[in-house]
Symmetry: C2
Subunit: 671 residues, 2 copies
Amino acid sequence: MAPAASQLPGSVIADIDGRRRVVIENLRPRVDGGRFAVKRIAGDVVEVTADVFADGHDVVAAVVRHRRDGARRFGESRMLPLGNDRFAGAFTVDDLGRHTFTVRAWIDRFATWRDQLARRLEAGQDVGVELEVGAGLIDEAAAAAPAAARPALAGWRDRLRAADDEAAAAALDPVLAALMARHDPRPHCTDAEPEIAVWADRPLARFSAWYELFPRSLGGERHGTLRDVEHAIDRVAGMGFDVLYLPPVHPIGETHRKGPNNSPTSAPGDLGSPWAIGSAAGGHTAVHSDLGTVADVRRLAEKCAGRGLALALDIAFQCSPDHPWVREHPEWFRHRPDGSIRHAENPPKRYEDIYPLDFESEDWRGLWEALLEVVRFWIGQGVSVFRVDNPHTKPFPFWEWLIAEVTREHPETIFLAEAFTRPRVMERLAKAGFTQSYTYFAWRNGKHELEEYVRELTQTGLREYFRPSFWPNTPDILTEPMQSGGRPTFAARLVLAATLSPSYGIYGPAFELVEQRGLRPGSEEYLDSEKYQLRDWDTGDPDSLEPLVAAVNAARRAHPALQSNDRLELRHVDNDLLMAYTAHTADLADVVLTVVNLDPHHTQSGWVELPLDRLGIDAEHPYQVHDLLSEATYTWQGARNYVEIDPRRLPAHIFHVRRRVRSEHDFEYYA
Amino acid sequence: MAPAASQLPGSVIADIDGRRRVVIENLRPRVDGGRFAVKRIAGDVVEVTADVFADGHDVVAAVVRHRRDGARRFGESRMLPLGNDRFAGAFTVDDLGRHTFTVRAWIDRFATWRDQLARRLEAGQDVGVELEVGAGLIDEAAAAAPAAARPALAGWRDRLRAADDEAAAAALDPVLAALMARHDPRPHCTDAEPEIAVWADRPLARFSAWYELFPRSLGGERHGTLRDVEHAIDRVAGMGFDVLYLPPVHPIGETHRKGPNNSPTSAPGDLGSPWAIGSAAGGHTAVHSDLGTVADVRRLAEKCAGRGLALALDIAFQCSPDHPWVREHPEWFRHRPDGSIRHAENPPKRYEDIYPLDFESEDWRGLWEALLEVVRFWIGQGVSVFRVDNPHTKPFPFWEWLIAEVTREHPETIFLAEAFTRPRVMERLAKAGFTQSYTYFAWRNGKHELEEYVRELTQTGLREYFRPSFWPNTPDILTEPMQSGGRPTFAARLVLAATLSPSYGIYGPAFELVEQRGLRPGSEEYLDSEKYQLRDWDTGDPDSLEPLVAAVNAARRAHPALQSNDRLELRHVDNDLLMAYTAHTADLADVVLTVVNLDPHHTQSGWVELPLDRLGIDAEHPYQVHDLLSEATYTWQGARNYVEIDPRRLPAHIFHVRRRVRSEHDFEYYA
């Protein structure tokens, strides 16, 4: 059977511009060929590279073209050749939201002609006719140029046509080259397709320290309230956090309510899990009466903002059997042949206090719209940061649509995906639009596995769209090393999370009070978990890690090197229980070296190797490393230096690397 | 400014199928996201992989769908999970030409239900309602199934509904699972886009030994003819070649004709370069009268075919100043302001005997059609293999169109790209459709650079579309190592070319007669090059490499391992002047180990390491390596074995690896 001609690319001559000779390939950055947006922060310079080439030996020219999404006009900046047909350019995403870019390239006829002319002249060839060719090119450019540019171009043309001793020099004049680069037409130019989207977030999307707490535990003996949270703001802000995140604040269902320690039955007075959302008192847009009111949330968001904190709420799209939607929209739930609604389960496990929403409902559009309204409702109360519970159990198209809908109106909104699941699923959620993502960090404890994971996050395509958030603990996760390692492990994991990832978080006060009691051996659940009961935390405990947390967050805020993982680089130490890495700013003005002892029991020592050149350190002179945690300062020299860390004191150094600087009064100091 | 909603992917709910939950990513094989075809040979099994997953924990199912290009119906084969959301499947490209494939995936509701049921039963849960759910799924499948399948499905449904002791066992019966896999509907399935094209060539496209000769040198004292070539067929076929390739056979221009050794002036009687095509006697569809006629070409092609040889002609799309097109189509050439036609040049170098065609001509469509007619003309004379001269100086869209046009009608046609240029350009020509490509092999002489190049060709994305052809020499290329290394270098380069690449070629008789005289120091041109004059070769020379060439080609034909580079693997030798590599068939029935001494002057020795497991060799027993060149046999044992090669005798071993086999009469032998 003869194939249909229309399906053979390039086979229908009428559809081809046969003179479009320039090819653009391998455009970067790009996610899945342009299907998803690259993520950046407003104000970032986006570096663009591409392979740009044509047949033959003509000179090609290329520009990056970029625009605010939906704008008619492109901004444009020239790309420069890096060799081997690779070109590089850049543009800045000035404001929040969606931008797009592409590359346009064409045969640069004037540059080709000029390049050949130079070689002809060098070989002493007669160039009379060639100068006339060049004059013709200038004429063509003038015809297409704005009127204001024409006299200058005509002047150059006349100098070439003069055919005198100076004509050749004029032809090679860089001023003429620059003029022609601006005005020469670009016939048969090629545009890279598709346009690549860049989503620009606010800085908090890249650099953020999160603190999670349960409001209901803030009341001491009684049930805590949102007003109690207001009183905790000073402590949280004082520790240097950027985001205060609360588990769901909605009414909790009574049917099949869980008792303490996830008991399948509850006694009167048991509080149930905040994630069993909805009761006769309301659903996802209501506030639990024991916590307060919607007005209290609005007030809390304002108070937080006043202290430089963003309030984050939990988005958990699931319902208790008592949620109003169960009655109002039974079609949003899956029914069994006996008429009952299917509760959440992962056989043989059952979660009788929760009904999942049925995204295969015939009325999925109605459901989507209702869920969007939930997010809009809380945005209306002043909330712009959301931690999304189990996003991997809802369809990817839903998230892509919801996040696009929300951020089109509110581009400052941040969504953190709580998906602890398989790699491809976590990646896809990030591609679909989640601003930040929980990670496997909690389960990466050895040096090799930590290093491998950091490399994957910072040196592969993931870096363009997946913003990791490192959490040593969460209300669901108390790992075995944390249960057994105690305080040194808590401290080491804090430093690792806060310096390996520009976004990280802890669940407190359990974290700083070193709550290490697991439910039972082999379980990662807490004993007496706050998910099911109140806890009365003694945040004034003198053994609290609060001062260390504050010091770590202060180091992060003072050092721009720690505010991005674009230049996080692992360093060699000749001891597998010590892990070392540097981060630096693009201009090398700020360099931070972190060294962590992964052994909670013993002092470990070793030699750390630094690539001095790369970090802007003079190999011939001493330099200082100043520990931002202990305030100790050491003078080092050369590439290899000794470190020794006793985990019972402080399990890590966060070193600010200070190089010798000469002042204008010829006085040397370290900075 | 608010972005246009229509530009935000997934933001218009009316355009979304919100229940299409399965995602397909990272489909392989694929070239540039599907923009270009993957290359295979008719009869090949195409192995397909993809990441296939959905939200949640449902079981997903996937099939590879494939069809002959333009066919309405797809063939379909099930994909199997490899773990970590990766799936693999395969299909066969049965016949020549263009095929396409894609992956279709969906939530497998029955498999999900069955999996959960098994877990419920194991936990001793009551499954009464679940069996009813399963019966409902069977009913739905039956409603969509062909009438013939319905009774069987109804029977299974009834067994589930019986709710007796055997109902659960019936529900888990693999026969029911297989039946449901065939008939269960696939609601909201996802198709990977775009469909990926696979171009299936004939076997010669992958495995071919080329022999190039100048017909005009075959006449002894006089000008040789195409009839003389007929007499050379036996020798060429006897050496085991598959393709006999002739430089252009067309009339040669007289204007600015080159003299011997590329002299800018010629004397009467000088023959000129065959690549200066066209005279008053005709152009690209004419045959030089001293060589013969078009009918002679047709006859030669037939004679070649009779001896298992394919005749290859040279396609050089350029004209001498005397070519008829210069008069008939002046618009196909570029004119200078003084009215003259621009000759070929790369300033300051000038090629006055050649006018390039102007692909930026206003009449580029007319030019393209004329060039297509040239190819069609020679196909009409029985030629189906073309070596294309300097394709990199013509636009990529032209080649993509021309090759598509030709191969749609004549899918057996083979185009070898003679592009010795930058990597991206060579790659793009292969993507555009060239069947085979010349390579950098001639300039890769050290072990490290050879190994690096082989890795690039066989282990990167290139392997899907770039079929290398390795040539130790061509009429344009006599490298310095060949000039200085003499016979041992010629022999080593032959073995390397013929065993590192399933397609290779030599320019003879210069090659087998060890013509090593360069034009001058630093030049890669031959002294007294056949490009500009006749050469009278003594092919009966007893020192000729002809017997070695024949032995090498015989080894290639006898050993399927050498007929593809899919499983070419470099092997470690503890001597940088020895290079070793193995090739094997997928079933390990044929294993070949090649070891080459890269030093033309001295005997080199070393220990070769083989991964015995991987090659199907028993580490506990001896095995034999039989040299296909010297016929010597060695008995080896274990992973490391000693080799010693004297380049003055034979610079290489091509070992057939024979493992011990026990016959049915309990007699052991090596095979």
